[in-house]
Assembly symmetry: C2
Homo-oligomer: 458 residues x 2
Amino acid sequence: MSEEKKIPYKIYLEENEMPQSWYNVRADMKNKPAPLLNPGTLQPMTAEELGGVFCEELVRQELDNETPYIEIPQEIRDFYKMYRPSPLVRAYCLEEKLQTPAKIYYKFEGNNTSGSHKLNSAIAQAYYAKNQGLKGVTTETGAGQWGTALSMACSYLGLDCKVYMVKVSYEQKPFRREVMRTYGASVVPSPSETTQVGRKILAEHPGTTGSLGCAISEAVEVAVSNPGYRYVLGSVLNQVLLHQSVIGLETKAALDKYNIKPDMIIGCAGGGSNLGGLISPFMGEKLRGEADYQIIAVEPQSCPSFTRGVYAYDFCDTGMVCPLAKMYTLGCDFIPAPNHAGGLRYHGMSPVLSQLYADGLMEARAVPQTAVFEAAEQFARVEGILPAPESSHAIKVAIDEAMKCKETGEEKTIVFGLTGTGYFDMVAYEKFHDGKMDDYIPTDEELARFRAKLPKVG
Amino acid sequence: MSEEKKIPYKIYLEENEMPQSWYNVRADMKNKPAPLLNPGTLQPMTAEELGGVFCEELVRQELDNETPYIEIPQEIRDFYKMYRPSPLVRAYCLEEKLQTPAKIYYKFEGNNTSGSHKLNSAIAQAYYAKNQGLKGVTTETGAGQWGTALSMACSYLGLDCKVYMVKVSYEQKPFRREVMRTYGASVVPSPSETTQVGRKILAEHPGTTGSLGCAISEAVEVAVSNPGYRYVLGSVLNQVLLHQSVIGLETKAALDKYNIKPDMIIGCAGGGSNLGGLISPFMGEKLRGEADYQIIAVEPQSCPSFTRGVYAYDFCDTGMVCPLAKMYTLGCDFIPAPNHAGGLRYHGMSPVLSQLYADGLMEARAVPQTAVFEAAEQFARVEGILPAPESSHAIKVAIDEAMKCKETGEEKTIVFGLTGTGYFDMVAYEKFHDGKMDDYIPTDEELARFRAKLPKVG
């Protein structure tokens, strides 16, 4: 009890304690993530090939499996200071409400206008694009956090920004578009008539509500067909996990400051950007044999890539114009039920996390949507933060684990990632309040159908 | 330049540096604010009379013009720790963008789910209601921040919460209702058919878009006619300014920590809760002759109580069921143009601030709406925070003052209050982006018509 009293509700690092380098967990992985493959030749993508789609420096970061620490350029560090460090919060009020002996911490990434951790990589990617003398970037966005983050970063640096937004989110989140417009971005609901691949998808699946996979295809097409533009991606890629390691590095520094050793680290997982960033330095210790942690990825039952997908090479996008990645995947045609709220709708999973999962270094759990919203509301009422539906997946499992501690009497220390706020998710909250939300679970037959279409590689 | 480098982008106090008492600026005022009057007898309201509407402890605080420091109960201080201290931000990016020699700081109160400073008083008022054994509270809300804040506080303490929301805001901010519902509150658009006064106002002004004055009348009626309920108010009252002094006390502590002496303090003013709280300790120094500061209240041109109102006794509400307060007022029937976005729609002004303004201790400026949104967008793009329209009034004048410094070369230190975020104001931002926003300015004739109806007192 006296030990507890010393720990403040919120741990903020000083500016001079903020990370000066990103940590590249690949450097410590014995089994490296499998390389991206050229969709034509099925050979590993070269730096030159990747350079047609991505900025040069980002290609270097994407391919670098060896360098453990990569310095964060000063301009990015200055931008980080605008909204970071994010607080590591001791969830005293939640613990009290649950009457659990567990000690719960969450790293809260929602205190910036994009509303999530996505800004950490957006500013990095925009910075390197600017540095390379580009005019602008294109991207996709699902729930809208990534698009907003990228708009903010581009506006700050004076880059043009074209966002393809998954149609279902575009419709469910009418005000997201206005935020992006405030930051000067153009936003198109996807699939759209503005690209070849969009027109093709619309012809084949009229009335589709879209998917990240479709939106990626459109954004890539626009980037490669417009001089001075490159494509940027908010998740899945190795470079994104690298940038997001700032979350885990800050978390670890804050814990170390108070001599706290977590037993378990929990994060929601769509493409893996938050989870990968949060766990990076902890996974590094685990890989180097310096410490052990229970690491849990939480995904929606409606889009269960870890728990019901296969570990195989697949296209990153629905239009099959992107490289292939080896990852846990449901098949690049998989489109989750439109009822499913917010992000975590991607068919695949970060190759880094996929390899770590395949190697038994982390676990995964799939949770139903209504239980996630119940956890979200419970959390909001005691911790005062209205969580994003995505983040609430992690809340759900953190609460489950804290309740197990209540049964067993264990005083485990649980750290979870609270990736963002739900201010733009009130349509989903309204459905939940009105009892109109249901729990879609794909059948085995459905999943098998998509799996059958996986490309045959190696 | 070297001095600047030492100051971080964000100054956070440690938990043990957070205020343990509120500061009551009335104790240092030579001319005390005029007492509230009983609308029947026109005599000063007694504690007993006020006790029918407000909780006992809050009545004591309302009437206490002598005690300079009032201890913050431990339970409220614990709740404050959930979302406070709020950061004092050095606006390096804005300074850079404006190329001004001025040093700009803002106290950012938006990092909590209510999205504004309102939570500071909501938790205090809910705490005292709970302590008195009440079942619930009623209130009005304009832009929705106060209603959300009160919902959060009531949910935390297990109190029932009934919110009357100004109809124009209820319609402009469809998701505010869902946030309040997440926290278990019931929300009614005002004027409504649920109260006598609401039915009367609707009969006299069919199609009215409502006003804070109407909503107050309805909430008071429900409180006094339901046993176990009291009314709580988010602004104007002395007690609210007392609770909000936590903003100013934290600001001053953060400035003192880095030995910064502001030249000017700027805040938006609707009923005065933020401005009164922000300036309290600085005004205290000014009143005691220990320091001097330029203090500027910023109000919308469409609701200009300081700059075009009169200092007189008036009703606090449209239904004339509440006590009379001596304040700068436009007349309790005044309803701003529905086009005007967000809060700052109240016809009167805090009696404390009114007295200070009458005594020449502070200034006021009225600004047009489109200029406010221009400042908001400029700020968002460089500082990364999407500001509430209310807060953006202060941004507008802070930028104006920084630009004056650019002309004169003066290195003034400007502190302004950034009361909250604009996530629920995207309808207004959309109007602005689409060029559909205009600048309503009431004519002299209009104002004279409302002024003629002021009650004749003393």
